[in-house]
């Protein structure tokens, strides 16, 4: 599903943030991506999501070499990937419901096809009462849950999450982890970037450890 071969990345003429990163992600797998702050977790997620190009090495996403992809080809692959950003990236002028429905709207689906699914998912993540609220009046935890709901609404084949439980209390954190596990059971590969050891300890999943730009699988 995902293959990194000797991938390196540097910003401009600066030092290499990632060096000789090589790993595979198999379909239906569950990984944690961890490491100290500034180790390059977000950068690695951005490479996985094709919003950055590697300075060297090869990246294959769903069997496609991302260096050879057109803008349209990248968009098609992104539709198969859900991503949760650390800073949520919700659109302030859309309601919670509209934000969550955005990936389906972009795919060209009709509202009648997904109306109930979006409402059900929002209820499941505890935002049933905040359906018509705008992001600016949501708390950090509520924004986090809305962002996760937006990432999973399209039943992605790969889910990338950057510190998804960083802004929520342990109860909601556990609930969100259950959602990720449930998705994983349904066939979605999951990569969660986190430095929350309590969260990682709850699952016996391989950990991709980033340190000094190098990646080790544990």
């Amino acid at each position: 599903m995902i293959r990194f071969d000797n991938v390196g990345l540097r910003y401009g003429n600066g030092p290499e943030i990632l060096r000789d990163v090589t790993f595979h992600v198999l379909p239906g797998s569950f990984h944690f991506l961890t490491g100290p702050s500034g180790a390059g977790k977000t950068t690695l997620l951005r490479l996985l999501f094709m919003s950055l190009r590697p300075t060297r090495g090869l990246i294959f996403v769903f069997g496609e070499n991302v260096s050879d992809l057109s803008a349209g080809g990248r968009s098609e692959l992104r539709r198969r990937i859900g991503i949760v950003f650390q800073d949520f990236r919700l659109l302030d002028h859309l309601t919670t419901w509209e934000n969550v429905a955005l990936p389906l709207r972009v795919m060209g689906k009709k509202e009648s096809q997904y109306k109930d699914d979006v409402t059900d998912l929002l209820r499941w993540v505890g935002l049933g009462e905040r359906i018509n609220a705008y992001p600016e009046i949501l708390s950090g935890g509520e924004k986090q849950r809305a962002a996760i709901a937006r990432a999973v609404i399209g039943r992605p084949e790969l889910l990338l999450a950057d510190e998804p439980t960083g802004n929520v209390d342990p109860v909601i954190g556990n609930r969100l982890l259950r959602l990720f596990v449930e998705l994983n059971r349904l066939g979605t590969s999951v990569i969660i970037a986190t430095h929350d050891h309590a969260l990682m300890d709850q699952l016996n999943a391989p950990r991709l450890m980033l340190h000094n730009g190098h990646l080790h699988v544990r």
């Binding site: 919003s51 803008a71 349209g72 659109l91 972009v106």
Partner: protein, 334 residues
């Protein structure tokens, strides 16, 4: 590109266009089928400001005025050409002619016998003097001047006479008689009409160029202020076509709204033009000259249709320019 454009037109939410054109308060009162169920992904307020609407409305107003004026000049010139092409004028030199009236009768009789001539109308000395009044004024001195005598001859346009033959016959039989078939005037009117049309096309070209420049600038500015939205759309898998359609829908609404404002203002100007021409005419002669150039100053129905055409062109220009602008900026982001 044409296939993409056609499918865009087919998929366009036309029922929502009305709400895009009307002011928000008015749009909110429309029946539910015209209301958009979901908020636009790119907020309208971040794309089309009032200043931009006013600029495009002014461009549309200028384009309508230019198109209408060229149309009026063309219609007037066409009517003039039609008028003079069915008429020829025979001129009798009054110098050294003791009995000019007798000669007028003889020439008129000669002309009336020719094939293809439907009417021969000799003008009196007073009629000829009246033709000079706008330039020389009413004066008894006109009587003393050797004013040429004229015979207006109407020809059958479906079965025209051999003008050259008549010209030769007149010069052989009568001394000091010339025939003017108005070809020189027709050529000059055509030149004038072509010049007016070319001038109009040049003005329309400048208006179109200015509109494109304004829209390109507005598109870039709208994209810069909505960069975060564009990024999120990219992350959720939106194609360039989807993103550009989100912007172009606003610019289409803006183009229709501003185009209509400009066209309505131009239509009012054309409706008031006859009154303004009369009020600001500056005297009988100036008014007569103006009317000769642009007719009565009233625009007919096809003329108003040109204003509708301007609205359509302005709206399409806004839509297509914004689309190309967005795609270009998206490629630069990539």
């Amino acid at each position: 590109m044409p296939v993409t454009l056609l499918s865009d037109i087919r998929d366009y939410p036309w029922t929502n266009l009305l709400t895009g054109i009307l002011p928000v308060r008015v749009a909110a009162r429309l029946p539910s089928r015209f209301q958009s169920k979901q908020a636009p992904i790119v907020p309208a307020a971040s794309v089309a400001g009032n200043a931009l609407t006013v600029v495009i409305a002014i461009m549309s107003f200028l384009a309508c005025l230019t198109a209408g004026a060229v149309y009026m000049v063309n219609q007037s010139a066409q009517a003039w050409v039609n008028d003079i092409s069915s008429e020829i004028t025979v001129e009798l030199d009054p110098v050294n002619e003791a009995d000019i009236e007798k000669k007028m009768t003889l020439v008129s009789l000669f002309l009336a016998k020719q094939k293809g001539i439907t009417e021969v109308k000799p003008l009196t000395a007073e009629d000829s003097a009246k033709l000079l009044e706008p330039w020389l004024g009413q004066s008894s001195a006109l009587q003393a001047l050797p004013i040429p005598r004229l015979i207006a001859v109407e020809i059958d346009r479906s079965n025209p006479p051999d003008i050259d033959l008549i010209k030769t016959a007149l010069s052989q039989n009568f001394e000091g008689v010339t025939l003017d078939d108005h070809r020189r005037w027709q050529a000059e009117i055509r030149t004038l009409t072509r010049s007016a049309a070319l001038g109009g096309i040049a003005v329309l070209g400048l208006v179109a160029a200015a509109t494109i420049a304004v829209i390109v600038s507005a598109t870039r500015s709208a994209m810069a202020s909505n960069r975060e939205i564009i990024e999120v759309l990219h992350f959720v898998g939106a194609h360039e076509r989807f993103i550009s359609s989100e912007f172009e829908r606003h610019f289409l609404g803006l183009g229709v709204r501003a185009g209509l404002m400009g066209a309505v203002a131009a239509a009012i100007a054309f409706l008031l033009l006859p009154l303004m021409t009369h009020m600001l005419g500056g005297g009988t002669v100036t008014t007569a000259e103006t009317q000769r150039l642009i007719g009565s100053g009233e625009l007919d129905l096809p003329g108003y249709f040109l204003c509708v055409l301007v609205v359509i062109v302005v709206a399409c220009l806004c839509m297509i320019t914004s689309r190309l602008g967005v795609i270009r900026v998206l490629k630069s982001y990539a």
